[in-house]
Subunit: 431 residues, 2 copies
């Protein structure tokens, strides 16, 4: 069933919603040639009609009444850009049930209810697309589901939060401390008034859940992802890391190992020669490794009005093409396996450890004896001349060790009298 | 019309063909769940049956008879990996005419006959896909046609030839001269016995033609692309470039400007801070700029058995999904515009110039007087102490100037007695 004009409705008219409105306007002249149809925004659901009126050509498209949208048989595509759990979830499910296609950028929702939403889409034979939910404008969901479908993906990881990457870049390049860099990020609009979801790694964790699910064909939800933020990182850690040939980045990592899926977000040391190490400011990048493609990386703007709208409109156009070819729901949920997710304690990593110890002969021997007891080997160590009457600072990068063992070693170490303080414990990214 | 087993035929069983055979084997168990069907290689066309027999489980799949393939109604997908113009073109056209879908990695052919092949596919309502023709395993064609379809792309450029990138990397990191680096590339299997297509930029030029066509929705063919190779680059150029904050890369550049499309391949200086500058060895990367997505980059293996096979199999799986959803030819040729391609002389660039001049007072004034006559300004200049009785070496980076004007200035300059030699003339990448 061919349709010359396809009507869509926007739910939410904030930064991304406005972007989608603009990008569709910019594409208006070419849509017919590109898609064989024209996509028009028929309704925009907003909270404040007056405030939104200045942003549209024709204010009659604005509504605050969901029923007007879901019950309009003319509307084929719902673009959900409200964010959050409710009412987004209820609206999306109702839209899918009503036979409407849905495009969403809502990572919070998809990381938890992805299966429910995709199942509902399948039942009603409609599309539910979410390219914009991970890494903003960067194409990654569709490349994983289609271009790289011939791979068994071993790993998908990267920098998937622009706010924290901006903060860590400032801490690295301008030697700022965390608080100062956060204040700058807030001032420049990179950090929200409440930055918790970004700086505590929650936002990145949601993206890791979605990426892992798509890459490994097995559902990983937000609760499966181990999460640490960047609030405890100091400029000193970054400077020691540099000395050891590494940068510190907030990495989201998902690995498909023989014992199950590893999925975590934490600040990590990464060799300065790794392509991700030079991804700076608010840029995002996703690195993948598959048995056929080997290494590949996708880099770009992970947020922002137009870059995120680029991904949303890509999804909208895909649906328009599906409608023209009468093949909606052509690719739905791709989680056809059930792979267990490993506990963080069972992952194996190298660790960066910075600690203050008593400055006397024999301390190093006692410390490394505790290490040895739990199979922790030393790969690199730095100790600098301590000032009189001060603790000595020791920085260690360990060999690969089971996280559970390392934690036990740290507990035992922190109980020893020669250890004044364990200042930092960070993981080191490695294969 | 659903089909549980989809039969495919391989034309050519060299590096990539073998890779595709292996990747399909690796995916065999999962295909049913992933695609709703199973893709099987029914025939492999080879020149030497005996030589190929050791590479397959069942030698009865091998044939040297094209008729056996094109006339087999069981075979739905033809995978053309022979390369070159003929008989590849004849075979592909015949396959499309026979209603078979075609996947091809043949950049030589597509860069010249892309329109003919896509038109034939459209006429017969079948798929003609070619993700592997550009940048090997890196997803770029599908992301441009789908994920980024909401953009007016302004630029698509990058490192699209692994052989030359390997050579330039060795010249940069190990200070090798071109010949030495080429010999190493040949020894390691990165360069072919006849390396002309790589080192003269022809291979990259074909990829630029294809990328420009897809990115700007307007057909650009191989003949439209201005091409220079890397054979004249010296270690000295690279070392001066470094001093000026740049690396030298063989870049393929396509730009959509108000006056038309620019499309060229040449060695260029690029700021060392640009993400492409750190793409080394045989890696490829494609950088895109669009009005919505802003900057994005796609990085990975541009060649090799399994990485290229990854892209080919992605296309095969897409066709399998299209067959299941009964929507083949869902996205065909996207060149719905006709934008003229600019002459190289009409592009505007900054230039890196290394020349030997007479070592006497007034030479710089005479040189810059010639520059000024043709609107060539100086942005950076290096002149080092010359040895007695030797020419002085001057290295200049110019401001932006029309290429035609710059060439005229160079002609005039080379006629002046104080100019002993113009050793290098390279373009500088900039926006």
């Amino acid at each position: 069933m061919e349709k010359k004009v396809i009507h869509a409705a926007l739910l939410g008219f904030g930064t991304v919603g406005t972007g989608v409105y603009k990008v569709l306007k910019n594409q208006e002249e070419e849509m017919e040639a590109k898609l064989g149809s024209v996509v028009r925004i028929k309704k925009i659901m907003v909270r404040n009609l007056e405030k939104a009126a200045v942003k549209v050509e024709d204010p009659s498209v604005l509504t605050n009444n969901w029923e007007e949208i879901v019950n309009d048989p003319d509307i084929d595509i719902i673009i959900e850009l409200m964010g959050g759990m409710e009412p987004a979830r209820t609206y999306i499910l109702a839209a899918l049930e009503a036979g409407k296609h849905v495009v969403s950028a809502n990572k919070d929702l998809i990381a938890v209810y992805g299966k429910e939403l995709l199942d509902m889409a399948e039942t009603h034979h409609v599309d539910f697309l979410f390219e914009a939910a991970v890494a903003g404008g960067i194409p990654i969901i569709r490349p994983l589901k289609q271009c790289l479908a011939g791979n068994h993906m071993k790993e998908v990881m990267g920098i998937v939060n622009g706010t924290t990457n901006f903060i860590l870049t400032k801490m690295t390049q301008d030697k700022m401390e965390f608080k100062e860099a956060l204040a700058l990020a807030t001032e420049l609009g990179y950090a929200e008034a409440d930055p918790t979801a970004d700086i505590e790694g929650l936002d990145a964790g949601r993206k890791v859940a979605i990426l892992a699910s798509v890459a490994f064909n097995s559902r990983v939800v937000f609760d499966d992802v181990y999460i640490e933020g960047i609030t405890k990182i100091s400029a000193k850690d970054i400077s020691y890391a540099k000395e050891m040939g590494c940068d510190i980045k907030l990495l989201g990592v998902a690995r498909n190992t023989e014992e199950g899926i590893e999925a975590y977000v934490c600040p990590m040391l990464i060799p300065s020669t790794h392509p991700l190490a030079s991804v700076n400011d608010s840029y995002n990048a996703v690195f993948v490794n598959g048995d056929a493609v080997e290494n590949a990386m996708f880099f770009g703007r992970g947020a922002g009005e137009l870059p995120t709208a680029s991904a949303v409109v890509g999804d909208i156009f895909d649906i328009a093409r599906n409608m023209k070819a009468n093949c909606c729901a052509r690719i739905g949920c791709t989680c056809y396996k059930t792979i267990p997710v490993k506990k963080m304690a069972d992952t194996r990593n190298c660790y960066f450890l910075r600690l203050q110890v008593e400055d006397r002969c024999g301390v190093l021997a006692e410390m490394t004896a505790v290490f040895a007891k739990y199979h922790v080997s030393v790969a690199q160590i730095i100790q600098k001349q301590a000032k009189p009457n001060e603790s000595a600072e020791i920085v260690v990068i360990t060999g690969k060790v089971r996280e559970g063992d390392f934690r036990t070693a740290m507990e035992e170490l922190s109980g020893r009298s020669f250890v004044h303080k364990i200042s930092s414990m960070l993981r080191v990214y490695g294969e």
